[in-house]
Subunit: 263 residues, 2 copies
């Protein structure tokens, strides 16, 4: 039987405020939870059906606590439409920003990505293309939001997502670049106008800035951009006389990352 | 006042069965409905607030019927979480497949894309990259599903989406290719293994086959593939020892389309 206090804790973790307070997040499902248990993440509690626990004795040992629940109980604590057999609570990891690594590699800066599904998909794309660091502006969706966790499909266990104010982030980077004599990387901004991504000669290290879904890259961030890039459209304007306005933020991220890796 | 019969009709159109029976679909929102009204689509009825009707007198004329509704009434007929000021019912267009055009250009074949959001995003990508025809296998999400309509963001007014059994589609194409002496196009299948998309020499015409979200390209379709292509991963395997399994279907579509257009 699930105690009332456990149900209250689990439900409270759907809110950012309580995730921050407890330093915990929730992950669900038969794919994600085993990945989480095998990772360096600290899993506090696993709530699972008897079935699942029997079939996963070995991995389940990585959790500090195991609680057997009925499917009915699971559906009460799950935030999925179709609850799966297992749900876990884990500690939110604290990553220090490795400025030297950022200066020498490719990273993403998300300037206010608000949709949790988009953020999750972008984390998955970063993982695919070997981008280890994502820096989110402070008004982006929160990375430990259950929707982001589920949409990232385990990539959240490999990609480090940081939250910084743009001013703060670029200033830190500049300082380390000067102190350590590491060249400052190119800052590519994705716009509707700019150099075609197909013609851009991507530097060996850089930061790709992706704008907010509705308003794009904001003024506060724009001043740090060293090169504006764009994904050319080959749109059909034959019937309604008007082509598409833009690509979804995650789609744009994927195409830019693919071009960086190709070149 | 909205009559009961109108509410019943509107609600029934959330189901594929009734959309097919009436030959109608629903589009919502202040961006999409005006685009729809300006297009060649036949708009039967526009349900909108007084405000909206006043501000859009000119475009609204393109609808056969205009009904003024309160915000409260709108929220009862809308399938959006946050209903917007306007909703329209339009006739589902019937597109004949132009096999000659398909033989000479790029098209997409979706082998069981089930998620309406993915299908909508793929339609938007096709529009961006000037791909006029999408052929869906009969078990794909239905294109006039409200979620697909909204996710396509107007691209549905430009891209033609057809539904065909794979056998039927490729047989038709072959026949026209032989009769008209038009070279049969390359059929590219997106797999986890194959020639890198960055190294593929894309032909001047082709069909890009995208697999189902869970099971990829199925046997029934695989036999038509002439070249297997893949998006190379640069994944991080440093911490959990395992990289990402795959990219989302829409993301993969975007990257392949971008590469086709680049080359």
């Amino acid at each position: 039987m699930l105690s009332k206090s456990r149900i209250t804790l689990l439900r409270s973790l759907r809110q950012k405020k309580y995730r921050a307070e407890h330093g915990l997040f929730v992950a669900e499902g038969e794919k994600l939870v085993p990945e989480l248990l095998k990772s360096v993440f600290e899993v506090q509690t696993v709530y699972a059906t008897e079935d699942w626990l029997k079939e996963n004795v070995k991995i389940a040992k990585h959790a500090a606590e195991l609680i057997s629940v009925s499917e009915d109980e699971l559906s009460r604590i799950s935030s999925l439409v179709t609850p799966q057999k297992v749900l876990a609570i884990a500690s939110i990891p604290k990553y220090a920003l490795d400025e030297k690594y950022v200066l020498k590699n490719y990273s993403l800066f998300l300037d206010g990505i608000r949709d949790p599904g988009n953020l999750g998909t972008i984390i998955r794309i970063a993982d695919w293309f070997g981008i280890k660091n994502i820096i989110c502006s402070t008004d982006s969706a929160e990375v430990w939001n259950p929707k982001v966790v589920q949409a990232s499909m385990g990539s959240l266990l490999r990609v480090h997502v940081h939250e910084f104010d743009q001013e703060d982030f670029f200033t830190r980077l500049k300082k380390v670049s000067e102190n350590e004599k590491i060249e400052f990387p190119a800052i590519y901004g994705t716009y509707l106008e700019g150099t075609s991504v197909y013609k851009t000669k991507f530097a060996s290290a850089g930061i790709i800035v992706i704008g907010n879904e509705a308003s794009g890259i904001r003024e506060k961030t724009e001043k740090f951009i060293s090169q504006k890039i764009t994904i050319p459209s080959y749109n059909l304007t034959n019937e309604s006389g008007k082509g598409p306005e833009s690509l979804n933020a995650a789609i744009a991220t994927a195409i830019v990352c693919a071009e960086v890796r190709r070149s």
